[in-house]
């Protein structure tokens, strides 16, 4: 078993394979040994950003909850050869490499990650599994382009952290970056962009079927995709390489790529295999058929019904993360408020500092800092912990100000009366001040919870499967941003409503002591006060 260094493989332009014909159904002894070392749990945990990710690995529009795509077939093929189970960890594109580096969450990332010298410093790569180039797309009516330099001063879109981005920069073009490739092509079709430069497979799946766009210009650059592995994790790299070699040698790779209409001259030459595809591009055709379907509202409803499992799970995740974050926010906020109002000066200043810093910086940055930033310092939190901490600690600052206002609005006399009755400050707070302040802060607290519920959508950035994540996955599976957006918005609304009702109910129950006099039963109405001066006309 050889592990050719990546650069050597690139130089040779080939991956030499010595294995024999089709792999047997059961893994070989060698595969077993490799798998045992690399994946002791029997699971190959692979990460990818499956949103708008055709033809790599994406939700199968016909079978929601199931994946399809050529990378999906490659990784499951490798897993089969190694006799392990492939398990997807969906991660946002920007988080793929950082997540790999912080380690533990998944074994490898396969998501059209280009092998570059720059990236090879951060992570290790398996043998390349696909060779391709960058493809320009413009609106259908645009004249032919022959070089990237012609695009200077024009609006060109691409994805961040891609080879295309680097090529454009090198050619003096200032690219606009997108998160979702489909959005870039749509913007181009609408006239918001003049051109989009992206990997050839992406262009073929997103630009080519669009009649208002056309592929334009020659191939640019050379792209090599490899599976990214945590630096130094040679057992995983070895196992993946073995799997890839077997997949190629058995001809399976050619079959997969042919089905996806990705079997090219370059690939044939590189792998030393026949130039003609192994069969018709069935999956590509299926994809095109799906795109050209007219979508009715009935279809949309059917889709939601098909996605009910995913949506239910996403809803539960959103609610759980919001409740946990709110509980944290209330606890920390309350502590901060008490410090602000009752503690010694240095503690007041500390609490004030925390509140100002947290309120003055964006929640998203805080969350990314907690998830990725702290990982750099060796504090590795899982996404849920980071998400709850990020949301909770942020909202704590706002809650603290609410509670401070609540504590201050309890009349001073209440504290004095409690102290005069022999209560310590702590007892007075606990039994007299806080219960009264609680009634005052309940309405803003509900408000904040609704707000937090919506802000929880940011956890999708650290790869938590919340409602917003479900929205992105669904919308990019069917390219139906309108219908999906409406539906997900309604779910958010519906989640919030019970909490609003609950708060109204609690407010009513607790408001006994603040009803206006006219609404109270059995009350002695007092006469208008005659002033507070001594009244000596009154008989004693």
């Amino acid at each position: 078993m050889k592990r050719a260094p990546i650069l050597l493989a690139i130089l040779l332009g080939t991956v030499r394979v010595h294995a024999a014909a089709a792999p047997p159904a059961a893994p070989t002894a060698e595969a077993k040994a490799l798998a045992a070392k690399a994946f002791p749990g029997g699971k190959l945990r692979w990460a990818a950003d499956v949103k708008s990710n055709a033809p790599f690995a994406f939700e199968d529009p016909e079978h929601p909850g199931q994946l399809t795509g050529f990378e999906y077939e490659i990784i499951t093929g490798i897993a089969q050869i190694l006799g392990v189970q492939a398990e997807l960890k969906p991660v946002d594109w920007d988080g793929l490499i950082p997540g790999l580096k912080s380690g533990g969450l998944y074994d490898c990332a396969i998501c059209g990650v280009e092998v570059t010298d720059e990236r090879a410093k951060e992570v290790d790569f398996s043998h390349p599994y696909y060779y391709t180039f960058e493809q320009l797309a413009t609106r259908a009516g645009e004249p032919d382009l022959s070089s990237l330099e012609e695009l200077r001063q024009r609006r060109v879109g691409t994805l961040d952290q891609t080879g295309a981005f680097d090529l454009l920069k090198a050619a003096g073009v200032e690219p606009l970056t997108y998160d979702i490739e489909d959005n870039a092509y749509r913007d181009c079709a609408r006239g918001r962009l003049d051109a989009v430069l992206l990997d050839y497979p992406i262009a073929m799946y997103y630009a080519k079927p669009n009649t208002s766009l056309r592929l334009n210009g020659p191939p640019f650059g050379h792209l090599i995709y490899g599976i990214a592995v945590k630096k130094g994790n040679s057992d995983v790299t070895a196992a993946l390489n073995y799997g890839l070699e077997q997949l190629i040698a058995s001809g399976k790779m050619r079959e997969i790529l042919s089905r996806w209409n990705l079997w090219t001259e370059t690939m044939a030459q590189t792998l030393n295999q026949p130039a003609e595809p192994a069969g018709p591009p069935l999956n590509y055709e299926k994809y095109l058929a799906q795109l050209s379907k007219d979508v009715t509202w009935q279809d949309r409803l059917d889709r939601f019904w098909q996605w009910r499992g995913t949506l239910a799970q996403a809803t539960v995740n959103t609610v759980v993360i919001s409740l946990a974050a709110m509980a944290l926010a209330i606890a920390v906020g309350f502590g901060l408020a008490v410090l602000r109002v009752f503690a010694a000066r240095p503690f007041q200043i500390l609490a004030m500092g925390y509140i100002e810093v947290v309120r003055g910086t964006p929640l998203l940055i805080q969350m990314l800092f907690i998830y990725y930033g702290l990982a750099n310092l060796g504090i590795k939190l899982d996404a849920w912990t980071a998400g709850i901490l990020g949301l909770g600690l942020n909202y704590a600052a706002y809650e603290a100000e609410n509670y401070r206002a609540g504590l201050l609005s309890v009349p001073r006399g209440q504290m004095e009366a409690a102290r005069a009755l022999g209560m310590t400050r702590r007892q007075a707070l606990r039994h007299v001040i806080v219960p009264q302040a609680f009634r005052l802060v309940l309405p803003p607290l509900t408000n904040d919870f609704i707000s937090l519920l919506k802000d929880s959508s940011l956890v999708t950035m650290i790869s938590i499967m919340d409602l917003t994540n479900a929205y992105q996955r669904m919308a990019t599976t069917y390219y139906d941003y309108f219908g999906t957006g409406l539906a997900i918005a309604i779910i958010y609304l519906l989640i919030g409503l019970p909490f609003v009702r609950l708060a109204r109910w609690a407010e009513k129950r607790l408001a006994v002591d603040s009803r206006p006099a006219s609404q109270r039963p059995g009350l002695v109405h007092s006469l208008p006060s005659l002033g507070r001066k001594p009244d000596l006309t009154h008989p004693v």
Binding site: E416, L421, G422, Q427, R520
Partner: protein, 250 residues
């Protein structure tokens, strides 16, 4: 029962109490009168350490508190102040009943929290003292906002009494009340006096001061001008300042 010597207190640069000394014997009722801003409320609040004296000594119900001018507060002082408050009941001008508790709960709370009595016993005591101030069953479950001013003040007195204080302090207990409710509160205080409670009342009720108190303490500009038996002060004030003050009322 109460002995105060050279009690001093300033709010910032403004002197409020300029060396007060007086004594109250057990069972006496003392009314404190004087013009607004004369320091009578501050004096009363110093007596149970709601405000910390700057200097002077207090001996109330067996607890002694001393502070030399400029001396820092220490834990011992705080502990004694805490001790003192348990033996001294206080009633405020604005009642200050706990707004989130019913009348009964108001009277129970400190018994349970401060004295650690079981709730059932606290409830029994609360019922007893509410009855004593004339608040029967029908008032137990009412919130302060559902009670009239006079009823609130009586509940506040019951709340203080429930802790078995040896001394009761009243800070203008009837000033926030409508005229027809003043009597019901004063009647409670007279009753307590008859039972032998030691009481100090800061008041503007001159008739009450005259008829109910043993001594009347007249204050002006942070000083005690005179401390005279009630019968005497209204008939024949010793000091010219007292005479001038009382003239406006009688």
């Amino acid at each position: 029962m109460i002995s105060v010597r050279d009690l001093r207190k300033s709010h910032g640069p403004t002197p409020v109490l300029q060396g007060l000394s007086f004594a109250v014997a057990a069972g006496e009722l003392v009314s404190v009168i004087g013009p607004s801003g004369c320091g009578k409320t501050t004096m009363l609040r110093c007596l149970n350490c709601l405000e910390t004296p700057d200097a002077g000594s207090l001996a109330i119900a067996g607890v002694t508190l001393e502070r030399a001018p400029g001396a820092a507060l220490n834990a011992d002082f705080e502990a004694r102040a805490h001790d003192l408050r348990q033996r001294v009941g206080m009633v405020f001008q604005n009642f200050n009943l706990f707004a989130h508790k019913t009348a009964l709960e108001n009277v129970m709370l400190a018994q349970v929290v401060v004295q650690g009595r079981p709730p059932a016993a606290a409830r029994e005591t609360a019922v007893k003292f509410l009855a004593k101030v004339g608040l029967g069953d029908e008032f137990h479950e009412r919130y302060p906002s559902q009670l009239s001013g006079g009823q609130q003040q009586r509940a506040a007195i019951a709340r203080a009494l429930a802790l078995n204080p040896q001394v009761m302090l009243y800070d203008e207990p009837t000033s926030a009340l409508d005229p027809e409710m003043i009597d019901e509160v004063l009647a409670v205080m007279r009753q307590l006096d008859a039972e032998g409670m030691t009481q100090i009342v800061v008041t503007h009720e001159m008739r009450f001061a005259r008829d109910a108190s043993d001594f009347v303490l007249y204050m002006e500009k942070g000083e005690i001008v005179e401390n005279t038996p009630a019968a005497e002060i209204f008939q024949n004030p010793r000091d010219e300042r007292t005479r001038r003050f009382l003239k406006r009322f009688l």
